[in-house]
């Protein structure tokens, strides 16, 4: 389970820690932000206490209308055991009842100079990307003409060697052997390398090489959206391989369906060129030009014409 510590947000958004220092190690488990407006009015029935709470001008000016006792009571209800923290926006003054509640319960209270809406959207974006579902895949991720191509296949089939040749041809390596994948939005998978092995490539017989120092900064990329999977497998003469390219197969990673091509490997087949062309062809298809489809239509026309002439 992915989680973010409150102190990470303090660091990232340069929040000023006002009180409740012992609570900065609290976990944030959800990316939603709560603006407890109705709660300030006393309605705590559906209080989302596990979210980061954001108090802006509206909420703070409302509570000045309450008497001190009610104010303290509501602040105490706001600070539950699972509340990761409370953030005050616009650099507004922190109500002293909130400070009391924070000291009593250990919920950290922070302050930001940003306006509430702006802070809210930036926090949501950041948390969504950090708390996104992730997985790790055995494969190599390369950026080919702007298409993120994930090369998969059994160990020893030649993934890294193919990646090396692709890098040599001017494409960019994202990750070798182990690709960490995050689902950032509904239909978007982003892959990156584990910190420890980024920029590295393992080639049998050579060992571990550093693509960044060998080929320069232009040969690598920190992360890339995955558009296409190329699955390499040893040529199996009994298996049918796609000869036309008219159907599109997909495979699921996390919740996203990604197009997949299975490419058989045999000595003498230049995989780097095949994959490069697959990426270009994929781009072309996305632009609406489908060579296989067009050819098939021409063939159908020719057959129909031949039939008509026959009569």
């Amino acid at each position: 389970m992915v989680k973010v510590l409150m102190e990470e947000l303090i660091d990232k958004f340069q929040l000023e820690l006002v009180s409740g220092e012992e609570g900065v190690h609290r976990n944030i488990l959800v990316s939603d932000i709560s603006r407890p407006g109705l709660e300030m009015a006393g309605y705590f029935n559906f209080y989302p206490s596990d979210r980061v709470q954001l108090l802006g001008q509206t909420e703070l000016s409302f509570i000045t209308k309450l008497d001190s006792e009610t104010r303290l009571d509501r602040m105490l209800q706001l600070c539950t055991d699972e509340t990761p923290g409370i953030i005050i926006s616009r650099g507004l003054e922190v109500p002293k009842e909130l400070l009391i509640a924070s000291n009593q319960t250990g919920v950290p209270v922070m302050r930001s100079k940003l306006t509430t809406t702006r802070l809210s959207s930036r926090l949501t974006n950041y948390l969504e990307s950090r708390l996104a579902p992730t997985t790790a895949v055995h494969g190599v991720l390369v950026d080919i003409y702007g298409i993120g191509v994930l090369i998969t296949g059994n160990s020893g089939v030649g993934k890294s060697e193919t990646a090396l040749e692709l890098v040599k041809r001017g494409h960019r390596l994202v990750a070798d052997d182990s690709v960490e994948i995050r689902q950032e939005e509904e239909e978007r998978l982003v892959g990156s390398a584990p910190e420890l092995i980024k920029h590295l490539l393992e080639i049998r017989g050579l060992g571990i090489i550093n693509v960044m120092t060998l080929f320069g900064a232009g040969a690598i990329r920190a992360q890339k959206e995955i558009d296409l999977i190329i699955h390499l497998e040893i040529w199996n003469s009994k298996k049918m391989y796609d000869r036309l390219g008219m159907d599109e197969e997909t495979t699921k990673i996390i919740d996203v369906d990604i197009p997949i091509l299975t490419v058989p490997v045999r000595p003498g087949r230049n995989l780097a060129v095949i994959i490069e062309v697959a990426a270009m062809n994929f781009r072309l298809k996305r632009m609406g030009v489908n060579a296989a489809q067009q050819f098939s239509e021409r063939l159908n026309d020719a057959i129909r014409l031949g039939d008509e002439e026959g009569y």
Binding site: A136, S178, I197, I208
Partner: protein, 85 residues
């Protein structure tokens, strides 16, 4: 498929050299072999994957083996990381 929780006894943990030997060992078998540590799962036949986990001595990992020779593979790999050398 067999799954087993193992504690790494190797004194140095899976540093580069032992990791390479471990991967070599895993490649002797036709079964698919995976290691899981802290929710991250990698293929044991890939050295970069193993090294990206930075497995230290005393770390708790899960070995997952699936295939025709899974019993043998599990025994050999478990012996490798349980060895105290």
């Amino acid at each position: 498929m067999i799954e087993k929780k193992v504690k790494v006894q190797l004194k140095t943990g899976l540093q580069a050299r032992p990791a390479a030997l471990f991967v070599q060992e895993a490649n002797r078998f036709t079964s698919d072999v995976f290691i899981e540590k802290d929710g991250k799962k990698v293929n044991c036949k890939s050295i970069m994957g193993i090294m990206s986990l930075a497995i230290g001595s005393g770390a708790e990992i899960t070995l997952i083996v699936k295939g025709a020779d899974e019993e043998e593979a599990m025994n050999a790999l478990e012996a490798f990381i349980s060895e105290n050398h």
